[in-house]
């Protein structure tokens, strides 16, 4: 069986130990850089598709995130020891909106963004609208990702939309929204003023790439 297919099956079985053995062996022969590009990226893409179409569980997604996080660290350590220069994308901002404290989804998004080469400032739980925008302006971020699990807290994202617009950053600072409630109620993206959403953590890098490009276009045209 091909390594990507084997890894995918292990993630579906939530078999972390088996996955690590497999990946370590492959990395010892081919290196962590190739592991990231040739194994993890295509497998995560496939897992993301399966998550959306077959409804994978959070436990399976968690295993995938842990694998991504741990092997990204190994790759970074290898790069540091060889003094290679890693060119990061971004920066971007992540956080849970005011009153929302469900961190796991946000952390998984951060993991997959970092695995995809993004510099992420993770502001944590229960973050005020002004804090998101202050940090974005401070570090030059063009995308803010905000997470909410429930409808009651998702509504607070409207204040972040208002803050972005109030500071004349509309379009230049893109608003990505996500969390369980947006999967159940996609119409909520528009209701709270989001510029885009991803159905799961694995789709987040593609969303942030698209929103970053839109922000750049907006900047160049103004």
């Amino acid at each position: 069986m091909d390594i990507t297919e084997s890894l995918h099956q292990m993630i579906k079985k939530a078999d972390k130990a088996g996955a690590y053995d497999l990946l370590e062996q492959w990395a010892a022969e081919h290196g962590y850089d190739r592991l990231i590009c040739e194994v993890l990226e295509p497998v995560f893409e496939e897992v993301g598709r399966a998550w959306q179409e077959e409804g994978l569980s959070l436990a399976q997604g968690y295993i995938a995130a842990k694998i991504g996080e741990d092997f990204l660290k190994k790759y970074a350590a290898e790069q540091a020891s060889s003094h290679s220069h890693i060119e990061l994308k971004g920066p971007v901002i992540m956080g849970n909106i005011e009153d929302d404290v469900h961190a796991l989804g946000r952390r998984m998004v951060v993991t997959f963004l970092e695995a995809n080469g993004w510099k992420v400032y993770d502001l944590g739980n229960d973050v005020l609208a002004e804090t998101f925008v202050d940090k974005a302006v401070e570090v030059g971020a063009k995308v803010v990702g905000v997470s909410a699990m429930m409808y009651t807290t998702a509504k607070n994202i409207k204040s972040l939309r208002a803050e972005i617009d109030h500071r004349d950053l509309t379009g230049k600072l893109q608003l990505a929204v996500g969390g369980a409630v947006f999967v159940l109620r996609p119409e909520l993206v528009e209701e709270v003023g989001g510029d885009g959403t991803a159905r799961n953590a694995l789709e987040a890098p593609a969303l942030f790439t698209r929103l970053w490009e839109e922000a750049c276009l907006q900047e160049s045209s103004s």
Partner: protein, 342 residues
């Protein structure tokens, strides 16, 4: 036949005068009594007043104890936050990793203020409403309670990667759950409702449920001196439904509005009570006529199912829900019964 008698007749598969119905109106009682959130979730008398108002206003056949899962987290030392328009939520769990378990103080169910609140609320509900309606006590089972003690992240990490840590946590939560469950039954609850938030197809794998959870739940439920309902919490439950059907003392399962009720019935067999139908947190978006029509549609589908209870699925009915929408459940049950008889 009063509401309480109707529920017990349904549990036994016996004829009833109209289809029973209920809605998760734990939070809604605060609206009916104009009670501030913090008082409602800390003062047993305030909560019981709220549920008495729910009973008088909507006449549901089952009333619920506080749907306040963060309260269990608070009892273990977690920090919670009160909100005006939703139940209190966990802000910071007592611990974040299994390595910190030894520092955790297991709360005493007879003296911890939050745990006493739950029990007293049930006791007072039993006094004011227990003669008329069945009372269901909501509490977390041993596999779901750790999510509140250490957060989903820490618990997933433990379940997936730490066999010894998993066992140590179960050594703590099983006795806590059984002692508390029996105390709530003794206080006046007719049955227990335990949310399967972690043991849900959207979170756990089938292997986790079969290999790890079922032996734990079998052991815990055997020690319970009353009937248990499993609640789906917020997503489709059909994929795991049959796994819970033969656990000791489990007499019913509450499924999601997205679950097919016929399929659920087939998977759980005919001896258990099936609960569900409406999307509770979102019925505020409908008009009463739509709620009525949806209830009729569900009741028609279940008309030959003697162990079915029409109910809202998911979390609390939102505070913004018009009272007429909730009344429409009652009128649908009443009119359906009339139509069937005539």
């Amino acid at each position: 036949m009063n509401n309480r008698e109707r529920v017990f007749a349904t549990l036994g598969g016996n004829p009833v005068d109209r289809p029973p119905f209920t809605a998760l109106l734990s939070l809604y009682g605060a609206r009916l009594t104009d009670c501030p959130s913090q008082q409602y979730y800390t003062d047993p008398a305030a909560y019981a007043r709220g549920q008495d108002a729910v009973r008088r206003t909507f006449e549901p056949d089952i009333l619920f104890s506080p749907f306040f899962l963060a309260g269990e987290a608070r009892a273990f030392g977690g920090k919670i936050k009160f909100f005006d328009h939703q139940p209190p939520n966990l802000v910071e769990p007592a611990i974040t990793s299994i390595e910190q378990l030894s520092s955790l103080d297991v709360p005493d169910i007879d003296s911890d203020p939050t745990l006493v609140f739950f029990r007293e609320a049930i006791s007072q509900m039993a006094k004011t409403s227990g003669e008329y309606a069945a009372i269901a006590a909501i509490l977390l089972n041993p596999m779901d309670l750790p999510v509140m003690i250490m957060g989903m992240d820490g618990w997933l990490q433990t379940v997936l990667f730490d066999t010894d840590g998993f066992k140590r946590m179960m050594d703590l939560t099983v006795p806590f759950f059984t002692e508390r469950a029996n105390a709530l039954l003794e206080a006046g609850a007719d049955c227990l409702v335990t949310p399967a938030a972690f043991l849900n197809p959207s979170v756990a794998t089938r292997d986790i449920v079969e290999r790890l959870a079922l032996p734990i739940l079998r052991d815990a439920f055997e020690q319970i001196q009353g009937p248990v309902f499993i609640h789906h919490v917020g997503s489709s439950f059909t994929a795991f439904l049959e796994l819970f059907a033969d656990l000791p003392h489990v007499i019913g399962i509450a499924v999601d509005h997205s679950d097919n009720l016929s399929e659920a019935r087939t998977k759980m067999g005919t001896d258990m009570t099936l609960v569900g139908g409406l999307d509770g947190p979102n019925i505020w978006k409908l008009i009463p006529e739509q709620v009525h029509a949806r209830c009729e549609e569900i009741l028609l589908d279940r008309q030959h199912d003697p162990r079915f209870i029409l109910a809202t699925s998911g979390a609390d009915v939102a505070l913004s829900t018009p009272e007429e929408n909730i009344r429409a459940m009652h009128t649908a049950a009443e009119s359906f019964s009339h139509e069937v008889r005539t």
